[in-house]
């Protein structure tokens, strides 16, 4: 029973990780690629860590796996935010199908209403 649960979790996590990598390779622009890598990558890694916790089933190991998952979920959004801000501020071009760029609009209105 434990083996079956571990197997399902492991394969699901690996599939999500593979989907994340596929998205990073195939999607058109940095921000859309980040969408694939951060969410699907974290979910895949978390599922495999849960599989490790289920497989061993001892308190210390479960605590370690949970600590790793919590740490991943705390840091992944921060890292993604910093990469996204760096990419936007250094002027990486957006995909040509981008519909709206609210940051550019708001900074434009700030400039037109500002002192200069």
């Amino acid at each position: 029973m434990t083996e079956i649960a571990t197997s399902i979790l492991v394969v699901a996590g690996a599939l999500f990780a593979f989907a994340a990598a596929l998205g990073v390779l195939r999607l058109p622009d940095v921000f859309i690629r980040m969408h694939a890598s951060t969410k699907a990558g974290t979910l895949g890694c978390g599922l495999i860590l849960v599989a490790a916790a289920v497989h061993f089933g001892e308190t210390g190991i479960v605590a370690r796996a949970v600590a790793a998952i919590v740490f991943l979920m705390l840091t992944a959004p921060i890292a993604a935010h910093m990469i996204g801000r760096a990419a936007y501020r250094t002027g990486v071009p957006l995909w040509k199908g981008t519909v709206t760029d609210e940051l550019a609009e708001s900074s434009a209105t700030d400039k037109s209403q500002g002192t200069d």
């Binding site: 029973m1 083996e3 079956i4 571990t6 197997s7 399902i8 492991v10 394969v11 996590g13 690996a14 599939l15 990780a17 593979f18 994340a20 990598a21 596929l22 990073v24 390779l25 940095v30 690629r33 980040m34 890598s37 951060t38 990558g41 974290t42 895949g44 890694c45 495999i48 860590l49 599989a51 490790a52 497989h55 061993f56 001892e58 210390g60 190991i61 370690r64 796996a65 600590a67 790793a68 740490f71 991943l72 840091t75 992944a76 921060i78 890292a79 993604a80 910093m82 990469i83 801000r85 760096a86 990419a87 501020r89 250094t90 002027g91 990486v92 071009p93």
Partner: protein, 106 residues
């Protein structure tokens, strides 16, 4: 019955190893040809997260729980590397004399 379950787990671990290695390969392809520096940082972030998953999977495959500690340490280092690279990319291009253009390779 027990042996069949063990066989299922072995198969699942093999499949997962293959998928993770393929995913790392795709991440490295994006890292090699990403047009701008932030692309490469995103790919590096993904590859290190995949390495964390690989460590966890290897701890299941080998029955050594110690590899989970490796996974935790790798996750810490990955976060620091990503943040440092993001700040480096931002600052390097904002400080440069002719700033506005792209985030080109070099």
């Amino acid at each position: 019955m027990m042996t069949e379950d063990g066989a299922i787990l072995t198969w699942a671990i093999d499949i997962a190893f293959i998928l993770l290695v393929l995913a790392m390969g795709l991440g490295f392809v994006r890292m090699a040809r990403g047009p701008s520096l932030p692309d490469r940082v995103v790919a590096l972030d993904l590859v290190t997260i995949l390495a964390v998953a690989f460590c966890a999977l290897f701890s299941i495959a080998s029955g050594e729980a110690a590899f989970l500690d490796v996974a935790i340490a790798l996750a810490l280092v990955a976060f620091l590397a990503t943040v440092a690279f993001a700040r480096f990319a931002e600052r390097r291009i904002l400080r440069g004399p002719k700033s506005d253009q792209s985030g080109g390779g070099r």
